[in-house]
């Protein structure tokens, strides 16, 4: 049976969603995307630089293989996020959006109130909304109820590389979720991605962990393997935790006894 990720009307073989920011070069980004096996990448919507010609990011993304997910990063109000989502839809010709409404500059934690408001408006306008949210099961439930196609709780602050700070919440979010759960932000290295998947997440979204690694292409491959391994382990069903040892070898028949 194919273990594919289904979000709204699309299916993905890869459960790893990757960003397009902060790479040393567009060429390295392209190679990292290839190594990651990703089928969906996030992009930001920003003013065109009128004063000079710049290379287009899209020259380095094979949009026949990789789906573009515009984000509303750096939007601090529902109104700005909605406006940015509408522009992203027109630029990208898909109605998907990674919805960010940020509530605090230092932590980049989401503003849940604005996020819910923007989700409701954009869902009504026909968007497939993937909100970046706190690792809060109640907020995730409200977002799903508002029509979000998935929920994307943070593992840790964006770009922090701290790993999954509240694994129990991620597990609860997944247990209660009626939509796919994508852990978005906070991954620092491969084991963090594996942890997210072992907790039951349907996917992981990351940017800095790959783009900021000393060798982004090698890290992209590590993340691909980690996400696959974590998913497999989750499906395999791990053993229960015990405080004391349980011998793996027979205790009887030991020589000299």
């Amino acid at each position: 049976m194919d273990d594919v990720l289904r979000i709204a009307d699309r299916t993905f073989s890869s459960r790893l969603i990757v960003g397009t920011g902060k790479y040393p070069s567009h060429a390295v980004m392209q190679a990292a995307h290839e190594a990651s096996g990703t089928e969906m990448v996030t992009v930001a919507v920003r003013r065109v630089d009128i004063s000079r010609k710049t290379e287009s990011l899209l020259d380095y993304i094979d949009t026949a293989k990789i789906f573009l997910l515009p984000n509303t990063a750096a939007c601090f109000t529902a109104a700005d996020a909605i406006r940015t989502a509408r522009l992203g839809r027109e630029a990208g010709m898909s109605n998907w959006v990674k919805l960010e409404v940020i509530g605090d500059e230092q932590t980049l934690f989401p503003d849940n109130e604005g996020l819910l408001e923007a989700t409701r408006v954009l869902v009504k306008e026909g968007f497939v909304v993937l909100p970046y949210t706190n690792d809060d099961p109640v907020v995730c439930r409200k977002l799903a109820d508002a029509g979000a196609a998935a929920v994307m709780p943070l593992g840790a602050p964006i770009g922090s590389g701290l790993g999954i700070q509240n694994p129990n919440n991620i597990r609860i979010i997944k247990e209660q979720a009626t939509v796919p759960v994508i852990v978005d932000a906070g991954v620092g290295t491969a084991s963090d991605a594996a942890v997210a998947m072992e907790l039951g997440a349907d996917g992981v979204l990351m940017n800095t962990a790959i783009a900021g690694a000393q060798d982004p292409v090698a890290m992209a491959r590590a993340m691909r393997l980690a996400v696959a391994a974590g998913r497999l382990a989750y499906r395999a069903g791990r053993i229960a935790r015990k405080s004391y040892a349980t011998a793996s070898s027979p205790l009887s028949g030991v020589i000299g006894s």
Binding site: V43, V45, R46, R47, I50, L87
Partner: protein, 81 residues
């Protein structure tokens, strides 16, 4: 001066100032969104345009007219997470 060709904008062009991506810009106008993108040498397929905070659909680039005092935003995709 007269605008070359076209129907709706076959009229006298005058100097106008619009706000383009947040900065004032002097142009001869009125002019269509298509004409503005052409002047700026921007590939229309890879951008999205807002005219006075409303998104302009690509199909409406020819018919949407930018006038003195209008606010125009032209955006594209850049790297992000």
């Amino acid at each position: 001066m007269r605008a070359p060709g076209g129907l709706w904008y076959d009229r006298i062009l005058t100097a106008m100032t619009i706000k383009l991506n947040g900065d004032p810009r002097e142009l001869q106008g009125p002019l269509s969104v298509s004409a503005l993108l052409e002047q700026l040498e921007i590939d229309a397929r890879r951008v999205a345009v807002e005219l006075n905070t409303a998104v302009v659909k690509k199909a409406a680039y020819q018919s949407s007219v930018i006038r003195d005092g209008d606010e125009v935003e032209i955006v594209n995709f850049v790297g992000g997470g």
